[in-house]
Amino acid sequence: MPKMNMVQAINLALREEMQRDRDVVVLGEDVGKDGGVFRISEGLVEEFGTERIMDTPLAESGIVGTAIGMAVYGLKPVAEIQFMGFIYPAIDQIFSHAARIRSRTRGRFTCPVVIRTPYGAGIKAPELHSESTEALFCHMPGVKVVVPSSPYNAKGLLISSIRDPDPVIFLESTRLYRLIKEDVPEGEYTIPLGKARVVQEGRDVTIISWGSMLHRALQAVTGIDAEVIDLMTLNPFDEETVYKSVKKTGRVVIVHEAPKTCGFGAEISASISEDAMLYLKAPIIRVTGYDAVMPLPKLEDYYMPAAERIKKAIDEIMKY
């Protein structure tokens, strides 16, 4: 089986889905000849032509808005937003329309659009190139939010997202794009949305994370009998898998790189408090980015949760 990094795996997923289904089209800034600034769509315009791989003007609301129009008409657009920091102008289209079209029309129209965007810090990029505001999108019913953590699950999750009948925000960690290689089969396979993955079983503490931070979490658990959960889908998240683990370990650490306040960690923690509190042996700890504006590269490393910070949190709740 070929070893691939995440860029290659996502590229392959797009390629195969486009081969399979003529309704799948790609649009965004620089997705054509340039292959996207991260080369995710490399080679696609050569294979599928400019009718299916569309370089758009520089207009994020316009990109998502036209993708919505295409989706409602019956296509399966995959829109790329160049960085998550540039998705904000498109939030109105996502919240006011993509999320609501099925509901508003009682199912007459639907909006099977995928919005892919690179997220997160770790590559020393300029301002607004390191955003991790996944929680915003989880507060909007009607939208699904998916964050792969490895090449293998990136491919399977992207295929599921493209085939999903509802809008999906698909977040790709810039830090992971070329960091990890793993076996990625050619040909189709899907990973269901809404299901988490127990990366490692354990009895003492449950670590919940996703995307890039999952790997930091894994670094932090050496020597600890930790159960590590990769959420993969944040909205809707897999409560069952989380609660099952919490009931076993009684201790929870949640790790994400977004600011703590109102990050998705808050939702997980609150859900556990509501539904599984009686199993808890210790406070639920969130190890997160700080409540400060994401700094420029010189301070980036201080901002992101490091393995030590995670380890410290685990050690702390292991005292209970």
Binding site: G62, G65, Y73, Q93, S96
Partner: protein, 351 residues
């Protein structure tokens, strides 16, 4: 190397039917007597609907409602140029468009009574639901047009918005996309002179709204929006052009919002009665009537009949709407996603 002119733009204005009911024969589009009568009856039906909606709102039987009074020619004239297979993206003030396309009238009442089921467009129509956030429907139209072009379908897209809508970023991004990709879409701006309390001159400093099209490399044309023939002709030409693959058009229909912005508004706070008076003789229904009378297509009996028919249709629609049961609270969850999530399931059970 002196200064030179590198681009010249001329914005056209089209008028066909004047306030006295005269038409410019050269510009008059080919419409049969039956077509013209259908147009007239749609004007009457829309006005009857609008009037009833305002009354029902006053009685508390509908929620906030946005009247179309004065804008009927812009709506019916343009929709008349569309086929059922075309795609339509309205704003929230296009009841005349819905009615012209054959949308069930009772569903319009249902929508305005606060029931989503009223905008579950029937399968034989492609009208997108009422769009509340101003201007946001414009990129959707470009997107649908992109899909039409991609599939090679022989359809056009029409999208409606107001003078205020031209100020939103989505107007800009949507029209620019249409220009770049030469999309089969017709942008129909009903310039009714007001965006709630903001008059047209404070909305933008450009002399016309039509000229905004040239910023995107395609034609914009202004028409008398109370002149149903001018509106029809401009739209028909633009739709034909779109279907021939010759790209988008912006049509500015110059009209007037005779009523308050919505039933929640009080226009007396910000505009002079005198201004409204000026527009009364420009009424779109009146002038078509004058034209038809001269052509022997209109008389008092015909008027009565048309009104009767409209009233019956609206009565029937009100009755149908009232016969519909209250929506099931569970419906809140049914259409969020294709399948409710586990969390929604739990919430639904707790209802």
């Amino acid at each position: 190397m002196p200064e030179r002119i590198i681009e010249s733009i001329n914005v056209r204005r089209l008028d066909i039917l004047n306030e006295k009911g005269d038409v410019d024969e050269q510009l008059m589009p080919s419409l049969s007597d039956d077509d013209i009568k259908r147009m007239y009856e749609l004007l009457v039906l829309s006005r009857t609907f609008d009037h009833r909606a305002l009354n029902l709102q006053r009685e508390g039987r509908l929620g906030t409602y946005a009247s179309i009074l004065g804008q009927e020619a812009s709506q019916i004239g343009s929709a008349f140029a569309l086929e059922k297979t075309d795609w339509i993206f309205p704003s929230f003030r296009e009841m005349g468009v819905y009615i012209t396309m054959g949308y069930p009238v009772y569903m319009l009442f249902q929508y305005w009574s606060g029931d989503e089921r009223g905008v579950k467009t029937p399968d034989d129509l492609n009208i997108f639901p009422v769009c509340v956030p101003v201007g946001t429907q414009i990129p959707h139209a470009s997107g649908a047009a992109m899909a039409i072009k991609y599939r090679g379908d022989k359809k056009a897209v029409a999208v409606y918005f107001g003078d205020g809508g031209t100020s939103e970023g989505d107007f800009h991004e949507g029209l620019n996309m249409a220009g770049v990709f030469k999309l089969p879409v017709v942008f129909i701006c009903q310039n009714n002179q007001w965006a709630i309390s903001v008059p047209r001159e404070k909305q933008t400093a450009s002399r016309t709204l039509a000229q905004k099209a040239y910023a995107y490399g395609f034609e914009g044309i202004q028409v008398d929006g109370n002149d149903i023939f001018a509106v029809y002709k401009a739209t028909k030409d633009a739709v034909d052009k779109a279907k021939k693959g010759e790209g988008p058009t912006l049509i500015e229909c110059v009209t007037y919002r005779m009523s308050d912005h919505t039933t929640a508004d009080d226009a007396a706070r910000y505009r002079l009665k005198e201004e409204v008076e000026i527009w009364k003789p420009k009424d779109p229904v009146l002038r078509l009537k004058l034209f038809m009378e001269r052509k022997g297509l209109w008389n008092e009996d015909y008027q009565k009949e048309a009104e009767e028919k409209a009233r019956a249709a609206v009565d029937e629609a009100v009755k149908m709407e009232e016969a519909i049961g209250h929506p099931d609270p569970k419906d809140m969850f049914t259409y969020t996603y294709a399948k409710p999530t586990a969390r929604q399931q739990k919430q639904m059970e707790g209802l």
